[in-house]
C-alpha cells in the first residue's frame, strides 16, 4: 500500500517501539492521500523519533534537536507548494524546542506536526521528558518527576492553534484518519501522538495507553475553544481524536504578502534590477 514511501534500510529502533507503527501510519496516509515522495518534505529533530525521515522515501531535513518547527516554517515560507510533515519527540518538541512550539502555533504555517510522545527520552537512554508523569522514576529523576507534566494540546489550544488532536499509534486506522485530517487541514495541525517506548518507559506502555485513553464522541464540538480546553486539561483520561479546530485563522503562507500576486516559490524568482536601480537612486 505504501510502497512509494518505503525505503530499503535497516531501521534503528528497538523491536516493539511505537515508532514502527507511526512510520507505517505516515507512509500509508500519504499514499492514500495520493502524495508522491517528491511532494513531501519530512522535517525532524534529534531523538529516536527524529530519525524518522531516514526510514522512508521522501525529501527530508533532519536538523538539530529542538529546532525542527522553525526549519519547517522556513521551508514553507520559501516554497508553500511543498507538503511539510514535521515530526519529532516530546523532548525535542516541548523541552529543547518549547519556544518554537509556542511561536510556530502563533504563525500558523500550513504544516502537520506530529509529536511522537513516549513520555521519555529514548535516544539518550531513559531520562524523564516534559510529558513524563509526576513521580516517574529514572536514573536521573531518582526521586521521581517533580515538574507538572507538559500538556501540549492544552497549551496549543491556549494559543488558539488552528488544529489540535491526540492519537495513539496502537490504533493504526484511527490514527491514519486523524493524520489525514491534519494533513488536509489548512494551517498548523498538531497531533500529540502517543507512542510507547518499550525500552525506557515501563509505565506508559501500550496497555497503559489503551486503558487510559478514549475516543472523543461525535458530540464533541472541536470548534468550541472552552469545551476543547476542558477536554484537553483532563490528563487522567486522554482524549483521542480532533480536540480543537479553528478554521478562521489565515495561514502564515496566506499572510505572506509576496505570494498574493505571484505564487512562484522563491527559488524560481529573480531579482528585478530595475527596481533596485530605482531604489538606489532615491538616496541621491
Amino acid at each position: 500500500m505504501s510502497d512509494n514511501f518505503d525505503k530499503d534500510v535497516k531501521i534503528h529502533w528497538c523491536p516493539g517501539c511505537g515508532n514502527y507503527s507511526a512510520l507505517r501510519i505516515v507512509k500509508e496516509s500519504l499514499t492514500e492521500l495520493k502524495f508522491e515522495p517528491k511532494d513531501i518534505v519530512i522535517v525532524s529533530g534529534i531523538g529516536q523519533a527524529g530519525k524518522f525521515p531516514h526510514f522512508m522515501t521522501a525529501n527530508f531535513y533532519n536538523g538539530l534537536h529542538g529546532r525542527y518547527l522553525s526549519t519547517a516554517l522556513g521551508v514553507k515560507a520559501a516554497n508553500p507548494n511543498l507538503e511539510v510533515i514535521a515530526i519529532s519527540g516530546d523532548g525535542c518538541t516541548l523541552s529543547e524546542g518549547g519556544n518554537h512550539f509556542l511561536h510556530t502555533i502563533r504563525y500558523n504555517p500550513n504544516i502537520t506536526n506530529l509529536i511522537s510522545n513516549n513520555s521519555v527520552y529514548g535516544l539518550t537512554k531513559g531520562q524523564a521528558s516534559p510529558t513524563s508523569m509526576l513521580g516517574f522514576k529514572t536514573k536521573v529523576q531518582t526521586f521521581g518527576v517533580i515538574n507538572e507534566p507538559f500538556n501540549s494540546p492544552a497549551v496549543a489550544i491556549s494559543l488558539n492553534a488552528s488544529f489540535v488532536a491526540r492519537a495513539f499509534v496502537g490504533d493504526i486506522e484511527e490514527t491514519k484518519n486523524i493524520l489525514k485530517q491534519a494533513i488536509q487541514h489548512k494551517g498548523y495541525a498538531l497531533i500529540d501522538m502517543l507512542s510507547p517506548c518499550v525500552s525506557f518507559n515501563k509505565v506508559n506502555t501500550f496497555k497503559w495507553y489503551k486503558e487510559n485513553s478514549y475516543y472523543l464522541e461525535d458530540s464533541h464540538n472541536p470548534l468550541d475553544q472552552s469545551e476543547a480546553m476542558k477536554v484537553a486539561l483532563n490528563l487522567r483520561k486522554l482524549a483521542l481524536g480532533v480536540i480543537y479546530k479553528n478554521p478562521s485563522r489565515p495561514t502564515y503562507e496566506e499572510n505572506i504578502q509576496i505570494y498574493n500576486s505571484d505564487s512562484r516559490p522563491l527559488f524560481a524568482r529573480d531579482l528585478d534590477k530595475n527596481k533596485l536601480e530605482k531604489l538606489v537612486n532615491t538616496f541621491r
Binding site: V9, H12, P37, K38, D39, V41, V43, I46, K51, H54, T57, A58, N59, F60, Y61, N62, G63, L64, R67, S70, T71, A72, L73, G74, V75, K76, A77, A78, N79, N81, L82, N99, H100, L102, H103, I256, Q257, I258, D262, P265, L266, F267, A268, R269, D270, L271, D272, K273, K275, L276, E277, L279, V280, F283, R284
Partner: protein, 573 residues
Amino acid sequence: MTRSVNLAISGQAGQGIATVESLLTKALKRSGLNVFASREYMSRVRGGINSTAIRVSSQPVHAFEDRIDILIPLSDEAIPHLQHRMTNNTLVIGEKAFLSMDLLLSFISIEVPFTELAKEIGSILYSNIIALGVISSIFKVERQILHDLIEFTFLKKGDKVIQPNKSAINKGYEIGAELEDKYEILKKFYMNKNPEIKNDLILDGTESIALGAIAGGVQYECFYPMAPSTGIGTFLAQQASKFGLIVDMSEDEISVINKALGASYAGARSLVTTSGGGFSLMTEAISLAGMLELPIVVVVGQRPGPATGMPTRTTQEDLRLVLHAGAGFFPRIIFAPGCIEDSFYLTQKAFDLAQKYQVPVFILTDQYLVDSYYNLPFLNLDSLKNEKFIVKTDKDYQRFKFTKSGISPRGIPGYGEGLVAADSHTHTEAGMISEDPEIREKSVEKRLKKLKLIKDASIPPEFIGDANKIKYQIVSWGSTYYIIKEALDKINRSDIGFLHFSQVYPIHESTKDYLKKAKINIMVEQNPTGQFANLIENEIHIQIDKKILKYSGYTLSVEDIVAQITDAINGGN
C-alpha cells in the same frame, strides 16, 4: 590634505538629532559639499546624551575626526559630554542655558535662543530645525534645497507639519545671515562647492548592507532585533513587498537561523542579521549549516561585550567569535567591509559565494560603520549576475555526492525528479546517518577541499603605498579603513604602507608577501587582544610586530591613529 569643517550636534535622545543629521547631510551634499557623518548614542529612547558628528568639505571625507569646529548643543549635557573634543577654536552656537560657562572652557560662543524662537513658531520641537537652518545658511546651502527636503520628508504628514518646519528653516536662515554680519569668524567656514557631487548617493552602512543584500538577491531575511544590526531588517521589511522578499522578525535568534536554513534548503537566498549576543545563540545552527552545506549569509554588527555590554557602542571584537562559532570543522567565509561601498559590494558577493560554495558567509560590521555615512557617486549594478548554483535533480540525485572539487551539485526539493536530503549527522552521499570512519574522513576532507577552493578565490588585501620604500606597514581590517587612510595621508611618510583586509577569512595568499615587505608590521584593531593579528599568525605564520589596540567602546579617530602611529614609530621597534 583634506580640510574639513567638523560640526557636532548634541542633545538628548528624542530631540530629533537624527532628523537634523539626515536633512543636513543631504542638504549639504545637494549644495555641492562633501559630507561624512557618524553618530554616537546611548542605549536609551529618551534622555541621556547623544551626538552626531558631521564633516563638511570640498574634498571627499570618509572618516571620523575628534576635533569639533562647530558645536550645536541642544541640552546642558552637550558641552560636558563633548568637551574633550573641543578646542580653543571651537565655535559653539546655542542657547545660554546650554553653554555651561562654569566648565571654564575656552571656546568661542554665539548665543542663539533656539527654544524661544521655536516657541514663536509654535512648539519647542522646532528648535532643531531652526538650528538646521542656521547651519545651512552658514554653509551657504540654497534655501530651496531645505524646503524640498522638508516637503519630501513630511509628505505624508501634510501641510500642517510642513509649513511650520519651513518657517523654522526660514528663521534659521534669517539668523544665519545676521550672525554672518556680526561674526567675522563664520567666514572661515566657507568652502568651494562642487556641482558634480550634487547628484551623489548618500548612504549609511545599514542602508548599504541592505541594498547589497537586495543586489545579492536576498529572498528571505530573518532577524530578531538587536543593536546595531536592527536597521538592516527594518530597511528590508520596508522593501519586502517590492522585491518579493520575505522578512520575518522571529521569536528568537535560534529560530531565526533555523528558519533561514530551512528556507535555504528549499531554495531561498537567506540572510540573517544580528549582533554578538544574538549570534552566540546561533552557534549550534552555524555548525548545522556547515554539516548540511546550506548557503546562508550572516551579518554580525559588533558592539562591545561581554554579554549585553554597551549596546550602542562600537568595537571589532567578535572576529574570533564568528571565526570559531560552531562545533566541529567546516569552511566559512568572513568579510569585514572597510567602507560604505564595500558594505554594498561585499554583501552582494556574500550571497554569491554562499550559493557557490554552499557555506555560511559572514559580514562582520560594527556600530561605527552602520551608523556612518558619506556621499559617493554611484553603486555599480552592471555586473550583477546572481547565478543560482542549483541543479534540476534527476531520479538518483544524491545531495552529498563526493566530487573532485568537494562541491556537490545542489538540488532543491520540488525542482526535478530527485529527492533532496539534509542530515545533521555524519552522512553518506545520499544523506543517510553513518558511523563509518571512512565516510567521516571523506566528509572532513570534502570540507577541507572546499576551504581550499574558497581560499584560492579570496579577496586580496588592499595595499596603499610604495612597496619598495616602506619600512612600516599599518595592517587593519574592517571599518577602520578610511580612518587610517586619512591619518596616513596626514602623516604623509613614504616609508609607511597600509595593508587593509576586507576579507578576513580565509585570507589571501598574497598576505605573506605583503607582510614580508615591511620591516615592522603594525596592526590596528579595536579589541584588547589583537584578534586579527592572531588569525594572520595562524594562517601564514608571520607574527605582527606591534599592535595599536583600542577598546573604549568609542571609535578610533583620525587623530588617534596619527598620534598612535607616530608613537609606535618613534617608540622604535
